[in-house]
Symmetry: C2
Subunit: 420 residues, 2 copies
């Protein structure tokens, strides 16, 4: 289409970062002008990848601030270590550059306020790249929610339920930041894969908001056990004490009375699941069953129970989100079932059109805050803690976008009636 | 076998009570000497049932204390309204009669202490008839836990997830106590169908105990919506305010660091589930998937996940609880898949042998206490509350029975090696 290319600086080239960079470089309308990582070899690998794919030689540095000095750069994408997201986002906005951060939690509420204030004062958006908001299943459920199939929403559950014992135990060998976090912090360090989609279902920051939470951590034994089974006694972490409880349960209460339960569950053997469950006055979705039950639609199968489960597959024909339908027809791109591509495009398209990002700075700040507040609650014996209103009251009048905010130009027309 | 019959007084003849009485009367070694209900017609229906089934005419009264005056009565069984369980149990023990209460929660911690102290001082056992402790699936999981398949237990979830909107909304017509409770109380009013089995997995009151909990209630809209849909505006409860949140989430922390999450979820449309999930350092059980994943046993099916689910059916051959195996071979009796019969027999056999009940007064008191403590936490904005140690330190040395405590003479030999 001969469009101007969007000029990007890329910060953070670990395993996930390298993968995202590759996906980004597969897009025609992208130019990567700079790459950075704290490890020189990783930054260099990123530079090579850009050169080989696109033919240009990007600035390569271990200090991301050098990239912010490149005037042409319009946007920063940062899949860096969790604890660096805040500073990189703030510094990017202060130099007038759109910024997208990979998922992760905050280490203080103050940091979340700074994100919000910096964005408000500079007018520059800040978006969390919460790919699960763009999952096919999640978007179909969102569409069903907005069409009223679940009735009034009351309760949601979800989790990051993923056996990461090897990644954590081998973190030093792999230079993965997860290990240091698990050794030192105790709380839900990674809440957004489930919270992001739930926030969209429940209109958080747009007519609703999170009010308070409690967090409770189980004992921490899973990773130690893994190390005992898989490593010898001279392994440097043999017998180390991991601060992070194996399962951290967080219960959030919302302004309109909804409850949200999050599970961080990554230190025990188990099949992967985001454990989503959504309940309203007219129906329920259970991800582990890949099924819903909608009153008035789902037929009863047993004499002793007037509700039955019905495969979600039966709903795609009518309720698949229009964005996903077009995306499938155009050919789904790689990356966690296609959602990595969609979330990146949502960001790129916002940069291109100079509009706000569909996951905005209030979403980003409030979702990131759950981590630090969860740590606070665990530290205080599961005491309830208040969740700040990062919109300072604007959530009362803000509404979910009527159309277009999730639109991706490759797969949908601007004129499409994308009604949520 | 020509054994002496066990002489029973039966208190509470609502729908559930009538069903249990019927089941009880099907047993040869039982004699029911008295029946009672606050409603005369219900008591009378019970009297008729006894007369027709067994040929004797039992004392029939609206005042259960009259039945405690019958000297020959050895044991009381009470499926009465929740809020009457405490008094009936205490009065029964004070007259030297074993007592079994249907499930339900307490309205004060003091009441739980009285149960414990009365039992300790009279030497008379008090058992909650938690039938789910005797479910085939739950007992198989218990057997797998005790054989070490899950490794060290870390986390459990469960719930009473059952659409009871019609029962509650029509409670006055049906004279069901649930309605008054829902109109007035807010907390987990019915926690034991999931907590009972979990308590057995985690050795609560026998080497472990519950330390504290938080409870969070969602808004209450499900029953109102049901009434609006199914009743006209002149229905007396049209527009009534139900105090009970549609979903109440309770998070319990145990002495050895385990977490237990309970969901009370009975006011929204959904298929029935007890939503059990159990996680240890070596495996996981997910009831909604009817599956487990055990490290070292369950083969991986996907290249991207080294864990897969495996149907629990594949484990029954080797791990079905011996009690259940014998029960199946002898012919499963009616009542919630057979467990109603087993839990009643466990009580009857304890009465017969003058031994303690397998679910004892400490179990009964601590499980019932969760309800009132949950109400306290909800009332205080999800503040953590302490769970009393009803054993006064005896839990440190108490151990799960090595054998025999779950044994039912009809289906298993005393000599059976029932090793937990």
């Amino acid at each position: 289409m001969g469009k101007e290319k969007v000029k990007i600086a890329f910060v953070g080239l670990g395993g996930r970062g390298y993968g995202i960079l590759k996906l980004l470089l597969s897009m025609e309308d992208i130019e990567v002008l700079g790459v950075s990582d704290l490890y020189e070899d990783r930054a260099e690998a990123g530079r090579k990848l850009v050169l080989e794919t696109k033919g240009n030689n990007p600035v390569c540095t271990t200090d991301y601030r050098k990239l912010l000095e490149i005037k042409e750069v319009e946007a920063v994408i940062t899949p860096s270590a969790w604890t660096s997201h805040g500073d990189i986002c703030i510094d990017s906005m202060l130099t007038g550059k759109y910024v997208a951060t990979e998922v992760g939690g905050a280490t203080s509420v103050q940091q979340c306020w700074e994100l919000v204030r910096t964005s408000e004062r500079t007018g520059i958006p800040c978006m969390m790249l919460e790919n699960c908001c763009y999952g096919r299943e999640e978007m179909t459920i969102l569409n069903m929610v907005k069409k009223g199939l679940f009735g009034e929403l009351v309760h949601a559950e979800g989790g990051y339920r993923h056996d990461l014992r090897d990644e954590v135990a081998l973190g030093r060998e792999n230079r993965h930041y997860r290990q240091k976090n698990y050794l030192n912090r105790n709380g839900d360090v990674y809440p957004t894969h489930e919270l992001g989609p739930i926030a969209k279902y429940m209109d958080l920051n747009r007519g609703n908001r999170m009010l308070s939470l409690t967090s409770t951590a189980s004992k921490s034994v899973g990773i130690n056990e893994w190390i005992r089974k898989n490593k010898s006694t001279d392994y440097d972490l043999y017998g180390s004490k991991f601060a992070l409880g194996d399962v951290v349960t967080t219960v959030i209460k919302c302004a309109h009375g909804e409850t949200i339960v999050l599970f961080h569950d990554t230190s025990l053997p188990r099949p992967y699941s985001r454990g989503n469950l959504l309940q309203g006055t007219n129906g329920i979705w259970n991800e582990d069953k890949a099924a819903v039950s909608i009153e008035g639609l789902t037929p009863a199968k047993n004499s002793w129970d007037h509700h039955s489960w019905q495969s979600l597959d039966e709903f795609y024909a009518e309720y698949e989100h229009p964005l996903w339908k077009q995306y499938r027809e155009a050919g789904v791109k790689a990356g966690h079932g296609g959602m990595d591509y969609l979330v990146l495009r949502a960001f790129i398209n916002a940069v291109r059109s100079r509009t706000d990002t569909p996951i905005d700075v209030y979403d980003t700040a409030s979702w990131m805050a759950i981590t630090t507040l969860s740590e606070d609650s665990v530290a205080m014996g599961s005491a309830p803690v208040a969740i700040p209103d990062f919109t300072n009251g604007k959530w009362i009048d803000r509404r979910p976008p009527v159309r277009g905010r999730y639109c991706l130009e490759e797969v949908c027309e601007d004129s499409m009636d994308n009604e949520w």
